[in-house]
Symmetry: C2
Subunit: 429 residues, 2 copies
Amino acid sequence: MTPKRDDDRTGRAQGGVSRRGLFGAVGVTAIAGASGVAGWGVAHAQEDKPSTTALRYPFHGEHQAGIVTPAQDRLHFAAFDVTTDSRDALVELLRAWTDAAAAMTAGELVGAGSPLPYDAPPDDTGEALGLDTAGLTITIGFGPSLFEKDGVDRFGLRDRQPRELRRLPHFPADNLDEARSDGDLCVQACANDPQVAVHAIRNLARIGFGTVAMRWAQLGFGRTSSTSTAQATPRNLFGFKDGTSNLKAEEPEDLADFVWVQEADDPAASWLTGGSYLVARRISMRIETWDRTSLREQETLIGRDRVDGAPLSGGTEFSEPDFALAGRDGPIIPMDSHVRLAHPTHNNGTKMLRRGYNFTDGADALGRLDAGLFFIAFVREPQSRYVPLQTTLSRDDALMEYLEHTGSGLWAIPPGATEGTYLGQSLFA
Amino acid sequence: MTPKRDDDRTGRAQGGVSRRGLFGAVGVTAIAGASGVAGWGVAHAQEDKPSTTALRYPFHGEHQAGIVTPAQDRLHFAAFDVTTDSRDALVELLRAWTDAAAAMTAGELVGAGSPLPYDAPPDDTGEALGLDTAGLTITIGFGPSLFEKDGVDRFGLRDRQPRELRRLPHFPADNLDEARSDGDLCVQACANDPQVAVHAIRNLARIGFGTVAMRWAQLGFGRTSSTSTAQATPRNLFGFKDGTSNLKAEEPEDLADFVWVQEADDPAASWLTGGSYLVARRISMRIETWDRTSLREQETLIGRDRVDGAPLSGGTEFSEPDFALAGRDGPIIPMDSHVRLAHPTHNNGTKMLRRGYNFTDGADALGRLDAGLFFIAFVREPQSRYVPLQTTLSRDDALMEYLEHTGSGLWAIPPGATEGTYLGQSLFA
């Protein structure tokens, strides 16, 4: 009933075409397809591919990839709810996701190594065949509801829930959509080709069928932060450079202080050592209103020059703002400007590794662009450091007049997997 | 009340920072900003940019760009309704859109040449500053409702409505969302960087404030057709190569037959000579169902091999299908397969220039991927050639079990503008 593809091809060849003939002229892709171990990056000879698509980042390591990895250009982010009560099924899912993530980030097909089935669905959905890895990273996290939901210890994990992993509070002016918030699991797929990122999320969703259901998803483009000093600072949809003072991969001491969870942070959650927390906020921008605002007002709200990104106190993009410098009416960088309120000196020294993306989800019912910034930050202490900072911004930042937070989530990001282990193994061990 | 930016900078410099000091260290972008004639492609020295972003296509010409232009990787498509009754205001809009489109596709800021205002909103929204043109093309079209709506000759254009420009009919199994269909005007922005395409639509929408309102919009990625023999055939979200037999820029005779409107086609609409028609169909795919279908079934539905794209009758991707070749149960390429029903030999020789994109718009309420193919085709005769073909597919194509058409639109695409004219000038002249 389930002959191998080879047998069947022989059958098909009864029509007068040999399998070798079918495959002979199309080169490497066909050979890879026949052997069932196709890599993507094999068949785009004459294509005018962007050079960034050739990038390949290691999946295994002390930390998960996709955090200090130089921010790729495209995002597909998905939140899932676990639909099974079985701890074993959850562990099996994480094992399967780890294997698939390792394969896809290496440019291999999901299920590589198995013969291509013919009377069964293919293991890989196929739309990335022939595409490069495009710097794909896949980063997986655990939400608070995985540890306890409605008072129920669903998977025997309650005792291991980290102190810092609690649902984010309601911030002033939040207008959250439940259907765009939270979730038992999250997956961040980043790549320089959106088809590669979408392929990754789709295949993980497919593997999870019967165990998880996608709760919501967000696509993003035009990364709004740099995570490496080798990257130029990108612009958000307000037209301003964003993330000038972001933490960078080249700052290991700050990363240890502000990104990576340390052994001593939380004895009950030592499984998270070497991991982090992912904060996500879907921030809608009132684009049309902003676009009718004067350049003076825009720069006053941000506290920076729009063209070059320098603080209004002068210098260049990377000059430290001089918050004391006087202008005609008070400080030249206003008290309620974004750059002042978000700056470490006004937040007990807090720095963040931000890794957000611009988004545009079409138009709303009134014909306005449904667009904004999908904020992602990796932080060591979400409750004690991120929450106070966002509370200040939500309450006092003059820019909030043009923003609306419409989605929210917090997940613990376990450390990286080594060969033979699965993501999150330290939690279940 | 509205001092030039220069004056104000002098004011700001009272804080101790000279304007030259502000700008001195940041190089070309700053200089461009100061002179008000910034190009985008000037300030990304150390960035790891994809090579395709350096592409720049001429805006002016016999035909509009974005039709036979080699299909770029990303799409932002928007449909607008005209909210004014004034023909003059409509003409002014088209003039302003033409100028802005010419500027943006040349890598210039909208409003380039004017001094940067400081107490007024900037002409350009800014998020493309520092980005390359990325092969941006902007293609503008006129819907049937622009010529007559609810029996009203809104702009004195009724007599010039082309015979072929009528709302597409209801096809079998259509499940159209009004909010994703039709519109007085359409704009197709294509680029190899989504931020550049989004910037283009946003700035046109901004220019149109008070004259047009965005009716709906669609983002796309991973072009699903090649329009040049220099491009490899991409894959759709079913994992199959799509557009193998698409019309190509290198086939001028077929383009004259099937894409470009000819002088003699419609005497009342000679203004459209050298133009075309754009058919758009938002085709949702039942991804989860498809992904649980055997490879055999998938290939039988499509009529092609999934890995290499060859017809089931054998050969390579570009081999002509042999529809007569017998298999074990009837023709090896089934009677209701997509490749058979869509093939020119079964449609009076009709060929199309397709230029569609994959889309993923997050997840629906049931946790399924809201994804599919945003079909775009440029055709010379939509009613007499496209409509019969789509009727056949909608009625008989076995693939329809996995598809749902959720949006639809038809627009006349006027010929290209020459220097000093505006898009659509032949219609209003």
